[in-house]
């Protein structure tokens, strides 16, 4: 059978649909920032930014850029009415203290036990940089990862054990890929919402790990 992978925008849209009304959410830099453009209009969702924003709004019009109002990716943003500013220690207390409902992170790899690797490729000559990734990974009530299912070489990014340096241990609850949504549970990986035309067997084949169907009999 043939199937079409979800585009990045479709992945973002799929994930955004699962964010509940009133949720406090941090969208990691990179791919997860796309989610902001797809938040359901009928829900109030509060976006947090590590550098001290709650109630972050969309990018400003080109003429309205304020160089004092940036997101964690250092891009200009806006503040919604009802938003608030705070300093970095308060912001990371909010993260580490478990107050965010959902944090969406990009990743190089996620393991079947919920480990995440997203900060370093481990190459010896790479300039290391971690930012807030490790804080976010341990902090939110729900860590969701958004990433392509396979590397460019066709290897699964969902793995038995991460080979890249870890960001957090046993923290990821759900992965949104361009092929499916996969929950990481105590009873193993549970796959659902596969792209049309893709069967569970085929997904299991490319993933290389046992996958359970969400509603098996």
């Amino acid at each position: 059978m043939s199937y079409a992978k979800r585009s990045r925008q479709e992945m973002a849209q799929r994930l955004a649909a699962d964010i509940h009304d009133g949720a406090y959410v941090n969208l990691g830099i990179g791919l997860p920032t796309l989610v902001a453009d797809h938040l359901p209009k009928d829900r109030e969702i509060f976006l947090h930014s590590e550098n001290g924003i709650l109630g972050m709004g969309p990018a400003p019009a080109p003429g309205d850029i304020d160089t004092d109002l940036l997101n964690a990716g250092k891009q200009p943003v806006t503040l919604l009415p009802g938003g608030a500013f705070f300093h970095h220690a308060d912001s990371f207390a909010m993260i580490r203290g478990g107050h965010l409902d959902i944090c969406v992170l990009g990743a190089f790899q996620v393991s079947a036990s919920g480990d995440i690797a997203n900060w370093s490729t481990g190459e010896p000559d790479a300039i290391p940089a971690v930012g807030g990734a490790m804080d976010l990974a341990v902090g939110a009530k729900n860590i969701w990862v958004m990433m392509e299912h396979l590397t460019r070489k066709g290897e699964s990014k969902i793995v038995a054990r991460c080979t890249y340096p870890l960001t957090g241990v046993g923290v990821v609850k759900r992965v949104y890929t361009d092929l499916a949504v996969i929950d990481i549970t105590a009873n193993g990986l549970v796959a659902y919402d596969l792209v049309p035309g893709l069967g569970l067997d085929e997904l299991q084949g490319v993933t290389g790990l046992p996958l359970n169907a969400a509603f098996s009999a």
Partner: protein, 232 residues
């Protein structure tokens, strides 16, 4: 639309279970959520652990909560006052458990709970009775005591104004424990004198962002004269 503003004190306190840990803000009369505390007595949850800087004064507020018999234990820094007779009698008769914590350690333990800190070393109380049995450590030539976070199921706090997202601003020294307790509770409940439209609070001056506040209830300000009369 998210609207955390409740229609009544009873609604604000719905669901408080027996055995809950309840933080109560306030220092002196400033910032004490007396109406929420009164409503908690009516709500009826028992076997409570209460966290407050003091242990009630006179016969109302926290003192009335203690007198109701609904409290098993109080965690505070300064229970003794000229008018703490309700606490004094319960404590002396063994009907109320007391955990005495230095004020700065009390609020830092509350902050640690809200900030995801597993434990911390403080110099406060080292070498005193209040550090007895606690782990200590010398760090860079100074002695510290290991202290653990203090979590709550509920925090009852008093602020000046709120919007429907639960953003709070306080007034003068009524701020005290409120902002910190709100971060440490699963469900923080704020009584406020004013509710305002979204966007009306200055984002630079919001002290408690709404993420920390589950419920808000409006309670009109009691004129100072009435407070004085009630104290007599």
């Amino acid at each position: 639309m998210i609207d955390k503003i409740q229609g009544s004190l009873a609604a604000a306190l719905a669901g408080v279970q027996d055995g809950s840990t309840v933080m109560v803000g306030g220092f002196g009369d400033a910032g004490l959520p007396n109406e929420l505390v009164d409503a908690l007595i009516v709500q009826g949850a028992r076997d409570l652990v209460v966290v407050n800087n003091n242990a009630g004064q006179g016969e109302s507020g926290v003192a009335a909560l203690l007198a109701s018999g609904h409290v098993r234990k109080i965690i505070c820094s300064f229970p003794r006052n000229v008018d703490s007779q309700v606490f004094d009698e319960l404590y002396r008769s063994g009907k109320l458990e007391l955990e005495l914590v230095p004020q700065g350690t009390l609020v830092e333990r509350i902050r640690a709970a809200g900030a995801g800190i597993g434990a911390f070393y403080t110099p406060t109380a080292f070498g005193t009775e209040l550090a007895k049995g606690k782990e200590t450590r010398r760090i860079n030539g100074r002695d510290y005591v290991l202290e653990h976070p203090l979590y709550a199921d509920y925090a009852l706090i008093k602020a000046e104004a709120a919007d429907r997202w639960g953003n709070l601003v306080y007034r003068k020294t009524a701020r005290n424990f409120g902002p910190v307790m709100a971060t440490a509770a699963k469900c923080a409940i704020a009584q406020v004198h004013r509710t305002v439209a979204l966007g009306e609070l200055d984002p630079e001056a919001i002290v408690t962002p709404g993420i920390f506040v589950a419920r808000v209830v409006k309670v009109p300000r009691v004129p100072a004269a009435a407070i004085a009369a009630g104290r007599q």
